[in-house]
């Protein structure tokens, strides 16, 4: 048959291409976003070669290339580029970053003796070392073959000293301070109530703590003085002499001498620091451990709170509530709740959870604390608990709607079979409906988690901070401190991007943190999906 005259060919098939187009646009955006974040986020940890550049105004620059962009005002047909170098040595240069017109660079070389340093303070440094002053006072020149092993050994020794110092100052002195605060509150209370015995007790305790404090300080001082005082004498691009004490050095590498394997090692060392360490330098350096932990704990608690609430509400709405206008209004309200801007939930959380609930808890259980500790609130201020609750409230509609749909999707036959055997309504719900709708409920929880983990705006009002001194979970009873403020990856991105004093230094961290946030949310979702699929497998072959 002649195909062109076949009038039975379906019309409108062209629309298929439009749906495909929509998919391609969507996919393109997702892939574009992900690859941008991955590219920018991963390269942060890679150590490229560091050039020594001569500029035609006589300057020398030693620095890592950070950006290349078209100069503002340059003609479109002959664009002129400018380069941004990260030169480090903020204490000398005033700024770690430097823009140079590409055309003005006379020459670039990659000498093997360029040294990169990551430092505790003042950011990184790129220098050309001259000599090492060892802790025993001996000087070793760079030309000496003993320089490099001695340098590595001294860096390792210095970082051991630094770690010991952190252990003493942050942890042990911190513990003493915490105990001291508690004892002081107790003393004030005892004085107020005129409890002579306790006053004496507390005074003795405080005196004891002060002795411990002094001895720890002495110990710290001894560590500093007795430990490595080695320092590196080098010269910067301008030829100035720079002396860097090695206790300041976190990581040192020769960027132009490293082979690929060395670069990979350095990459993973930095990545490890990023994931497992605490932030430094106004969050622009160091790691994100507290933020990762905070995000994870907050999301898990949010899920633990929203799931029972949502499921119970949905069971009532679907199984018990009388059909009618009231139920319809409730359903519409629940659905509209999903559309309320998240910041509104933040305001509600602050007004209700923090001030009303938290305030009442403080009045009831922490009255002494309030009275004798300058009205310092415990639960009456933002914290992990209130963040979780606020986000639980925000994601509640998602779980309710998903659970209702899942309950409605359970075949009527199963429900009837259960009731016909003499099971009560509640037994039917518990034994038949809930297990059968568990995969659907979990889908709702997954969606809620995905939304909750990435939410920032409401958290800023109810307990997220840019730098929390302690994790919400530690070794002191009751181990989990739901009242503590915490760090959050989403807020961290905002803080780095908009609040950082050094925006050039923060820029790569923004991408790295974003990447980490995405990875974390994906991991949480994969975990939940894995659980759901296992549940689903149990119902496979259902022939209803």
């Amino acid at each position: 048959m002649d195909k062109s005259s076949d009038s039975s060919t379906p019309r409108g098939e062209g629309w298929v291409w439009f749906t495909g187009l929509g998919l391609i646009i969507g996919l393109g955006m997702v892939i574009g976003l992900l690859s941008l974040v991955v590219m920018n986020g991963v390269t942060v940890f890679w150590a490229p070669k560091v050039p020594v550049a001569l500029v035609d105004d006589g300057r020398t620059i030693i620095g890592q290339l950070a950006q290349r962009r078209i100069r503002a005002g340059s003609p479109a047909d002959h664009p002129r580029y400018e380069l941004q170098y990260q030169v480090g040595l903020r204490e000398l240069n005033g700024n770690s970053y430097l823009w140079v017109d590409e055309a003005k660079i006379k020459s670039e070389s990659f000498p093997a003796d360029v040294l990169g340093l990551e430092r505790v303070e003042n950011g990184p440094a790129f220098v050309r070392p001259l000599s090492l002053r060892k802790s025993d006072g001996k000087l070793i020149a760079i030309t000496d073959s003993a320089f490099e092993p001695a340098f590595q050994a001294e860096v390792a020794a210095a970082s051991a000293v630094r770690e010991k110092l952190v252990e003493i100052t942050r942890h042990r002195i911190g513990d003493v301070n915490e105990e001291m605060d508690k004892a002081r509150v107790a003393l004030r209370r005892a004085e107020d109530l005129k409890l002579a015995a306790e006053i004496a007790d507390r005074r003795r305790q405080i005196a004891g703590l002060e002795v411990r404090f002094a001895s720890l300080q002495a110990e710290a001082k001894k560590v500093v003085e007795g430990g490595a005082v080695a320092s590196l004498v080098s010269k910067d691009a301008a030829g100035r002499e720079v002396v860097v004490p090695l206790t300041q050095v976190i990581r040192a590498w020769f960027p132009n001498r490293l082979d690929t394997w060395g670069r990979v090692q350095l990459f993973f060392s930095r990545l490890g620091e990023f994931i497992f360490d605490e932030p430094r330098e106004a969050n622009t350096e160091g790691g994100l451990m507290p933020a990762i932990f905070g995000t994870l704990v907050m999301t898990v608690f949010m899920s633990l709170m929203v799931t029972p609430f949502g499921v119970i509400t949905a069971i009532y709405l679907r199984e018990y509530a009388q059909n009618g206008p009231v139920l319809r209004i409730v359903r519409i309200s629940v659905n509209n709740l999903a559309g309320v801007p998240s910041i509104v939930f933040g305001v509600f959380g602050l007004g209700f959870f923090v001030y009303v609930l938290g305030g009442s808890i403080d009045q009831l259980f922490f009255a002494d604390q309030l009275k004798y500790n300058n009205n310092t609130p415990v639960f009456g201020t933002g914290g992990l608990l209130w963040c979780s609750l606020t986000l639980a409230l925000m994601t509640l509609p998602v779980v309710i709607v998903a659970t209702e749909e899942a309950l409605a999707a359970v075949p009527r036959g199963m429900r009837e079979a259960s009731l016909a055997t003499g099971a009560s309504k509640w037994q039917t719900i518990r034994d038949i409906l809930l297990p059968a709708s568990a995969p659907g409920i979990l889908t709702g929880v997954i969606l809620a988690m995905a939304r909750g983990a990435g939410e920032v705006a409401p958290l800023m009002l109810v307990g997220v901070v840019k730098l929390a001194p302690t994790l919400p979970f530690d070794g002191s009873a009751p181990f989990l401190h739901m009242d503590r403020k915490f760090m959050h990856l989403g807020f961290h991105v905002y803080d780095l991007g908009f609040q950082s004093p050094d925006s050039d230094a923060a820029r790569p961290m923004v991408f790295a943190t974003t990447l980490l946030l995405i990875v974390l949310v994906v991991c949480l979702n994969i975990g939940a999906i894995w659980i759901r699929n296992r549940l689903r497998a149990r119902f496979k072959g259902a022939s209803f």
């Binding site: 059909n323 075949p411 036959g413 199963m414 429900r415 009837e416 079979a417 259960s418 009731l419 016909a420 055997t421 003499g422 099971a423 009560s424 037994q427 034994d431 038949i432 297990p435 059968a436 149990r538 119902f539 496979k540 072959g541 259902a542 022939s543 209803f544």
Partner: protein
């Protein structure tokens, strides 16, 4: 608990006269019963008595109200919104609408098998003992014994005894339906309602279930709704014919099929309409 009155005989005659069997004649008594779904009257002035330990078949064309009546015997229609009834249904002399009788305890006495087999997505074992679990039986030995007894009665034991812990959803259609029967009789109800139990099954599975009905009627009063007149003739002692919500004729199966008193009944069973 009803005892076994007659040992199951090996040779089955096609139609058994009702008089052969003992037991209360008006065990289930339906009196002037009417039923509405909203404004629509589904049943009108039904009055019939179902004797103890007999099989009664409800026949009639689709929409005649036979399933509605069946589902009223254990008040399954309570689950539907906006229904009401008139008249009364009594079981052993007590109204099923008695305020003192909980619907749950009624359903424990009146088991039901549905048209579509509806096993729970649980193991075979858990399916059978579900009715015992809901009344709080925890003793594993009791549950296992009840499971075996019920599965044997449902003629399924030999086929599933090695896979009691497997999902019930892996059984064949006929096995699933027999599993549903085992589940319905596990807590030893007095009455078994069957709503077109064979409509989705092949002839072999249908034959097994019909055989089962013969076995079970020694212990249970069985009410079965069926579209197949041959099936009604094969399994039932008494047959009721409904048409458009009205009870046209109710008599012994022999009488209905051999010598119906109503012209409509004769027309239906001879296949002239319906």
């Amino acid at each position: 608990m009803p005892e076994i009155m007659n040992p199951p005989s090996s040779s089955r005659i096609k139609v058994r006269p009702a008089t052969e069997r003992e037991g209360r004649k008006d065990y289930i008594s339906i009196r002037d019963y009417g039923f509405w779904y909203g404004q629509k009257k589904a049943l009108d002035a039904i009055s019939l008595d179902i004797p103890e330990r007999q099989v009664v078949a409800f026949i009639g064309p689709s929409g005649c109200g036979k399933s509605t009546l069946l589902r009223n015997l254990n008040r399954m229609n309570d689950l539907v919104d906006d229904v009401r009834h008139e008249g009364d249904i009594t079981i052993s002399g007590r109204s099923i609408y008695d305020a003192g009788l909980e619907v749950i305890s009624l359903r424990r006495r009146v088991g039901m098998v549905f048209q579509k087999s509806n096993p729970f997505p649980k193991s075979v074992f858990e399916n059978v003992v579900y009715a015992l679990r809901v009344v709080g039986v925890r003793d594993r030995a009791v549950l296992e014994e009840a499971c075996e007894t019920s599965l044997r009665k449902a003629a399924l034991w030999d086929e599933v005894k090695d896979r009691l812990d497997d999902s019930a959803l892996g059984l064949s259609g006929g096995q699933m339906q027999r599993l549903c029967i085992a589940r319905a009789i596990a807590n030893r109800p007095e009455i078994l309602l069957m709503d077109e139990p064979c409509s989705a099954l092949d002839p072999i599975a249908t034959g097994k279930i019909e055989e089962l009905i013969h076995e079970l009627k020694d212990q249970f009063t069985i009410v079965i709704v069926t579209h197949s007149m041959q099936q009604a003739a094969r399994v039932s002692d008494r047959t009721a014919f409904f048409y458009l919500g009205k009870q046209i004729e109710y008599d012994t199966t022999e009488k209905i099929f051999m010598n119906p008193s109503q012209a409509q009944t004769e027309a239906y069973i001879s296949g002239r309409f319906g």
